[in-house]
Every structure is written in structure tokens, then in C-alpha cells.
């Protein structure tokens, strides 16, 4: 097409611009298509996007120390308003004076009326353990508190002058905080607001993140090493044999996850099948039974088995359509069977490897039930701790922060994968 006609505005037969006519013609079809996907869109929005948004919000927002919600009526009353005012007037690090304690005493009366001392104390207790009882005690005695308030509080508990406690209260007096993220990576704030590491004996999360990362990489590698030959076999066998083998690969999918995990427990425990067999044939003394469960070995073995299909299936779907004539061509061109595999076959399976590795890695990073059952203390993953904070300590904000870090980590990996391999190279099946 020449430049002149290209620049000219094209029109339909009756003179309307071609572009708008085309848009109008396609609009109806687009609307109908959109209506079709609308239910799914709504479903995803409600079940997926909203909870994630809520979780992310929860990780930086906790109103335990600023707002009391009546359980029955749902009535919301601001609490700790006086002390918040004092915090606003005095910069961080100011020694709490009589006015501060007076404000605190006033707030304690409110807590007593609302019976909210427990939840407010819990919020402080997240960051400084042993403080919840101080709040309940102070609230119980709120009416007996008399000036000078500072001494009155010290009478109740000497820790009321602890600068660290006041630092926590200052942070908690605003519902938005990054402190849960700090806690999630074993950091805390010093009394004057500097960020420092928590005491050595209380550092758990970073170690656990590292262990989760290490075990996930290990499991991903193991599934790859075990799955690649299997997938290759599946892809090259005649269909009637490969179908049978495929059933064996998929069989774990059809069994409940719990059944599979417990059967690993039966196999691996010290009085279990493997140990009994080893002792039975005399390879192992009865007193030296191998400890293969309630440690990392158990987690790795069971999770590798459970996640294997997620590696095999993408690999298979990539290998199946690879024409055998590629390898033949390489061989006829003078390549040894290893060179033909490594230079010709293997590169063509990389999209499958990427997809399988990404799937297995993401699944194992967030795996919960198997490590909880066979992992013992040393085989726990970060998700077990998230579950602990959800169910036992009820520190949902910390759980949310941990989960958000996990999500962020996975997204970074996904981004890295996209940069290195290219997401359009991903082939899931």
C-alpha cells in the first residue's frame, strides 16, 4: 500500500470512519463474550483477590490497641485515645511522665468498662510477651488508681516503666504498622525506634524461611531427577504401555493426601516397614534403627513423592510432541547419543522443566500438611508456622505478614523465571 492511501482515513461505503464502524460491529460480540466470563471473574474476585487483599491489609493493620468491637452488637468504640494523644504530643523516646501515666489510667477505666483489656493487652503481647496480664491487672484496678499515677502503676507492676513496653504501645496506638513484617524477619524496634535483630534465642522465622527455600529447591531438584526419565519413557513408549505407566504416575493423585502421607509414616517410622526389613535382613542392628521420620528426611521423601506428578506431567506434555527425527537428524549429522540428547533433545524440553520446577517449587514452598505430619521439629516449613499463628497464637497479622513475604518471594521468583526463561515458554500441559 502506498503512503498516500495509508494516511488517508478509510471510510465505509456510506462514509462513516472504518475504525468506528468496525468497533461498533465488534462491540456486541465483545459484550456477549464478557458476559460469559463474568461468573468466573466474579468467582475469582470473591474467592481469590479479596482474601489476598484482606491478608495484605491485615499484615500492616491491626486495631487491637485502637478500637474495641463489641462482640454481640458489633458496636465499635475507640480505645486508648488519651495515651494516643500523649504519644502524638511527645516524640518517640520521651520518658513517660506523670501526664502519660494519667492518660494511661484514664484509658484503663475505659478498658474496664468495655472489658477490652484482654484484647488490647494481646496486641501489645504480640510484640512483648508477658504484657497481657499487666493490662488485665491494671484495668481490673483502674478505679483504684490515684495520683501520682506513675507510682500507682509501678505498684501494680514494675515493668510499666519499661521503655520497650512504651515503644510498643506507641507503635500500637496507630493501627497501621510495619512491625509485623519486622517480626516476620526476626527484627524488632529498640525503645528509641531503631530497627535491631531480636535476641538470638528468639530468631525463628529467617531460619525457617531459609529451610523452606532449601528444602523446596531440594525437592524440586529431586522431582526433576526422578521425573525426567519417567516422563521421557512415557513420551517414547507406545501408547498402550505409556497409558499404563501414566496411571501409575497419576495414582497418587487419586488417593487422599492424608492417606499418602500416613502410608509414608507406616513405611518410614522406626518400627516401620523399611526399618523392619533392614533389621530383618541383618543390614541394621535392632538398636540402630534409622530415624527417617519426624525430621527433614521424612519431609523431603514424602513431599518428593507427592509432588512428582506435577513435574512429570508438564515434562510429558512437552516431550510427547518432540519428533524423534530431531535426535535422528543429530545422530546422522555426527553427534554421539549424549551430544544429541544434550544439544538437541534437552533444550527442547526446557519449557517443561521450567513449568514443572515452578509448579513443584511453588507448591512445596507453601506445603503444610505433610511437613506437619512427618516433619517433626526439624522438618517444619514456614507454612506450619503460619498455621500456628492462625490457629494457636491467633496473631493473624503476623501470619498475614509471613504469608505476604512468601507470596512476595514467589512473585519475585516468577519474575526471575520470566526474565531468564520467558513465561511464554512455560508449558503446563
Amino acid at each position: 500500500m502506498s503512503d498516500a492511501t495509508a494516511n488517508q482515513l478509510l471510510t465505509t461505503a456510506d462514509g462513516k470512519p472504518l475504525k468506528s464502524a468496525l468497533a461498533r460491529a465488534e462491540r456486541r460480540a465483545r459484550h456477549r463474550a464478557f458476559l460469559l466470563v463474568l461468573p468466573l471473574l466474579a468467582f475469582i474476585l470473591i474467592t481469590f483477590v479479596t482474601p489476598i487483599a484482606q491478608m495484605l491489609h491485615q499484615s500492616v493493620y491491626n486495631e487491637g490497641f485502637t478500637m474495641h468491637t463489641e462482640i454481640g452488637s458489633g458496636e465499635r468504640t475507640p480505645i486508648m485515645v488519651n495515651i494516643k494523644e500523649w504519644f502524638d504530643q511527645n516524640p518517640a523516646g520521651t520518658e513517660p511522665d506523670e501526664a502519660a501515666f494519667a492518660a494511661l489510667a484514664e484509658d484503663m477505666k475505659t478498658l474496664r468498662e468495655l472489658r477490652a483489656a484482654g484484647s488490647a493487652g494481646t496486641r501489645i503481647n504480640y510484640e512483648r510477651s508477658g504484657t497481657r496480664s499487666m493490662f488485665t491487672k491494671a484495668a481490673r484496678n483502674a478505679n483504684k488508681l490515684e495520683p501520682p499515677f506513675k507510682e500507682a502503676f509501678i505498684d501494680l507492676d514494675e515493668d510499666w516503666t519499661d521503655p520497650a513496653l512504651w515503644r510498643v504501645m506507641r507503635d500500637a496506638s496507630s493501627a497501621y504498622t510495619m512491625n509485623f513484617y519486622l517480626a516476620a524477619i526476626d527484627l524488632t524496634k529498640s525503645p528509641d525506634g531503631d530497627i535491631t535483630s531480636v535476641a538470638q534465642n528468639r530468631q525463628v522465622y529467617v531460619t525457617l524461611f531459609q529451610r523452606t527455600l532449601f528444602l523446596s529447591v531440594l525437592i524440586t531438584f529431586l522431582t526433576f531427577a526422578l521425573g525426567y526419565p519417567v516422563a521421557h519413557l512415557l513420551a517414547t513408549l507406545p501408547l498402550r504401555y505409556s497409558n499404563l505407566l501414566m496411571i501409575l504416575v497419576l495414582l497418587p493423585f487419586w488417593t487422599s493426601l492424608l492417606v499418602r502421607t500416613t502410608s509414608w509414616m507406616v513405611l518410614l517410622q522406626s518400627q516401620g516397614v523399611i526399618n523392619d526389613a533392614l533389621v530383618g535382613v541383618g543390614l541394621l542392628g535392632d538398636e540402630n534403627r534409622l530415624q527417617m521420620m519426624y525430621n527433614q528426611i521424612g519431609t523431603v521423601v514424602a513431599m518428593t513423592h507427592i509432588l512428582l506428578p506435577f513435574m512429570v506431567l508438564p515434562l510429558y506434555s512437552v516431550m510427547r510432541p518432540i519428533n524423534p527425527s530431531y535426535v535422528r537428524a543429530a545422530r546422522s549429522l555426527g553427534a554421539t547419543s549424549w551430544t544429541a540428547f544434550w544439544r538437541i533433545y534437552f533444550p527442547q524440553t526446557i519449557p517443561g522443566i521450567g513449568a514443572g520446577a515452578l509448579l513443584v517449587f511453588i507448591l512445596s514452598v507453601g506445603y503444610y500438611i505433610t511437613p506437619a505430619l512427618v516433619g517433626g521439629a526439624s522438618g517444619q516449613l514456614i507454612s506450619n508456622l503460619i498455621a500456628f499463628h492462625m490457629q494457636n497464637s491467633l496473631n493473624w497479622s503476623l501470619a498475614a505478614a509471613l504469608a505476604a513475604l512468601l507470596l512476595g518471594g514467589v512473585l519475585i521468583l516468577y519474575w526471575l523465571y520470566d526474565r531468564l526463561v520467558g513465561i511464554d515458554n512455560l508449558k503446563l500441559g
Binding site: 519428533n323 545422530r331 546422522s332 549429522l333 555426527g334 533444550p347
Partner: protein, 366 residues
């Protein structure tokens, strides 16, 4: 020809048999000798064993029995990558994750040829197939014909003496196929390489080859030059398979002076060239090429037998006319005539008499 070891034999199949399941033979007793520089085509219907032969020569299948020799040495136990045979595959098998240059460079790299030497050879090979400017592209960015050229260049770049081609033009459209047929033959002859070419397209086989081996049922039915194969088929399979052919069935009445008198099943008697019949009383299938049928009585020999025919259909095909006749109860009897100014255009329903030279009408096996 069996087990003959002539001095110029380059490729030899010596009593080669191949079975996949131990019950049936896919290739039955194959003997074939090719001199250096020959372009030989293995032609046959699918399942006739031609591709199996090629795969055995390339080293991807092992012969169940017999010897395959290359340059006088048995290659039965030599793995494919040490045979030094170039091969062009049906689907080209260009490595999709490599550029065209990398594809061509691959056979040179595995032979540990230096970088500068490699680049020169790749460049020369690409220019040879007129693909010099496509080196940086990937196979998926090329058309079928271009991929074909690259596959050819890749099979030639390491300068093999023998190149195998497994239906390389099967995926191309007719016009491109004809162009490539010419180019491949031209290239093969100018480079002086030996080519074994497998196809099921008889036109391709006839136009490209020095010799054609017609396969059927695991046996070479006839191994001959294209003209001999077309004009002098040695049995009815070859006659049917190569080109268009008219068949009439009957019984040999007598053979005299090199001419067989055949009585057709409908009662008429015709003169034939006895190829596969030896005595009177044998059943035979008579084969006549459509363009050798004559219905202008003046051009026939004195005293030649003629047959009555009814014109059923006249098809104008541009360069030729194709007329379908009913002859001796056969409704599929075809006559081809050249579109010449004085050529008569027959009308359906017309009754004519047809005849031919006795040597054009071959009495073959029934």
C-alpha cells in the same frame, strides 16, 4: 547381481532381510549395488519396505540378516554418527531452538572443526541453496520451501559422499516441488555426491533419478533407468505403479516371431510383446500406455489387429486430450493425444477402432 562385488560399488545391500516382529519380513532378500555418484530412487507404496531400507543404511535400524556395505566396508556395526552419511528428513528436522546458522554449524561442531573454517563452510552451504541471507533466522520463521533448502544445506555442509533423502518434498505444493526436484538433482550432479532418495511419487522418481528401484512387498520389483521403467515394465505391478496404464486380461494363444497373440476375455485377439509369458495357454495381463494407443488407422501397421471402442468421455486438459473409452468390456481404457492442430476431438458415443504397435503392448504376468 547378488553379492557381486564390482570395483565401483559404493553402496551395497547384500542379501539384506529385516523383520520387526520376528514373524513377517518387511524387507525380503534385498540385493542392490550402487556406483559412486549415482542418484538412486527407492519408489514404492507405503509399507513396501523402502523407508526401512533407508533407515538401515542410515543406521537407525539394524538389518536382521545380511550385509550393508559402504565403500566396500560393512557398516552393520557402525553407529549412525560414525557413518558420515548426510540425511534429509521428511519433516526436515531442523532444530527449532537454533538459528539456521547454528543448525548448519552443528555437524561441523561435533566434528571439532575450527570456528573460522566452520563459518566459511556454513556460508558456502547456505549460498549453495540460495539461502545466504537467512542465517540468523529460526526454522519457524521460514516457509516450507526455505526449510527444505536449509535441510538440504545441513545434510551437505559436512561434505558427505552419500546423502539420503526420505520423501523430502512431500510437504511442498506442486509448483515448488517441481522446482526443488530440479534443484536437488542439479546440486547432486554438480557436487558429484551419491544420493539415495525415497519417495512414493513416481513423477518425482522418474524426473530426478539415474536409476529407480521399485519396491513392493519388501522386494525390488524392478531396478532400471526411468525410461526403461516406464516403457518396458517387467511385471504388472511396475506397469500399474509407474505412470498411467491400460490393462486388458486374456490368455496367450500362441507366441511366434517374438509376437504373442493374446485372446482377450471378451473374445478379441490382439498382438503383444511377450514379456512375462512363455507359452500358449498362460493367463496374462496386457499393458498399453495411453499415449501409445492409435485410433488413426492410417498410422497403424499393415495387418495389425484392431479393437472396437466406444468413446465414453472426452476431457480437454490443455496440452493433451484425455479420452476414456470402453474397450473389450473395460470402461477405464484411456487414450491420451497431443493437442495438435490436426488432432481429432472425439465425441462421446462415437464408435472407433483402435490399435497399436505390438512392441508397445506388453503381455505381463496375470
Amino acid at each position: 547381481m547378488a553379492a557381486s562385488q564390482t570395483s565401483d560399488a559404493f553402496v551395497e545391500f547384500d542379501r539384506v532381510q529385516k523383520s520387526y516382529d520376528g514373524e513377517t519380513l518387511v524387507v525380503k532378500d534385498l540385493n542392490l549395488t550402487m556406483p559412486r555418484g549415482e542418484f538412486l530412487t527407492m519408489l514404492g507404496p507405503s509399507g513396501s519396505g523402502k523407508t526401512t531400507c533407508l533407515m538401515m543404511l542410515a543406521g537407525f535400524e539394524t538389518a536382521t540378516h545380511g550385509d550393508i556395505r559402504l565403500g566396500g566396508k560393512s557398516i552393520n556395526n557402525i553407529p549412525p554418527h560414525k557413518r558420515g552419511i548426510g540425511m534429509v528428513f521428511q519433516n526436515y528436522a531442523l532444530f527449532p531452538h537454533m538459528t539456521i546458522e547454528e543448525n548448519l554449524s552443528f555437524p561441523l561442531e561435533v566434528r571439532s572443526i575450527g570456528k573460522s573454517d566452520r563459518e566459511a563452510k556454513v556460508k558456502r552451504a547456505l549460498e549453495m541453496v540460495e539461502m545466504g541471507s537467512f542465517g540468523k533466522r529460526r526454522p519457524a520463521q521460514l516457509s516450507g520451501g526455505q526449510q527444505q533448502r536449509v535441510a538440504l544445506a545441513r545434510a551437505l555442509v559436512f561434505e558427505p559422499e552419500l546423502v539420503l533423502m526420505d520423501e523430502p518434498l512431500g510437504a511442498l505444493d506442486k509448483q515448488l516441488r517441481e522446482k526443488m526436484q530440479f534443484e536437488i538433482t542439479h546440486l547432486a550432479h554438480s557436487l558429484g555426491i551419491t544420493v539415495v532418495y525415497v519417495t512414493h511419487d513416481q513423477t518425482e522418481a522418474l524426473t530426478m533419478s539415474d536409476r529407480v528401484a521399485v519396491f513392493d512387498d519388501g522386494v525390488i520389483q524392478q531396478l532400471d533407468t526411468p525410461d526403461k521403467l516406464y516403457e518396458e515394465p517387467m511385471n504388472s505391478f511396475v506397469a500399474q505403479f509407474i505412470g498411467e496404464n491400460n490393462t486388458l486380461e486374456g490368455v496367450v494363444k500362441e507366441i511366434k516371431n517374438g509376437v504373442a497373440l493374446v485372446q482377450l476375455d471378451e473374445g478379441e485377439v490382439i498382438d503383444c510383446n511377450p514379456v512375462n509369458v512363455s507359452k500358449a495357454g498362460e493367463r496374462t495381463r496386457v499393458s498399453i500406455r495411453p499415449e501409445r494407443v492409435e485410433f488413426n488407422k492410417a498410422r497403424l501397421q499393415e495387418g495389425a489387429h484392431t479393437l472396437k471402442a466406444e468413446v465414453l468421455e472426452f476431457i480437454y486438459m490443455g496440452d493433451i486430450f484425455r479420452t476414456r473409452l470402453r474397450v473389450a468390456g473395460n470402461d477405464e481404457f484411456v487414450v491420451k493425444t497431443r493437442n495438435a492442430p490436426d488432432q481429432k476431438r472425439l465425441q462421446p458415443g462415437e464408435h472407433i477402432e483402435i490399435g497399436w504397435l505390438p512392441e508397445d503392448c506388453r503381455a505381463l504376468d496375470a
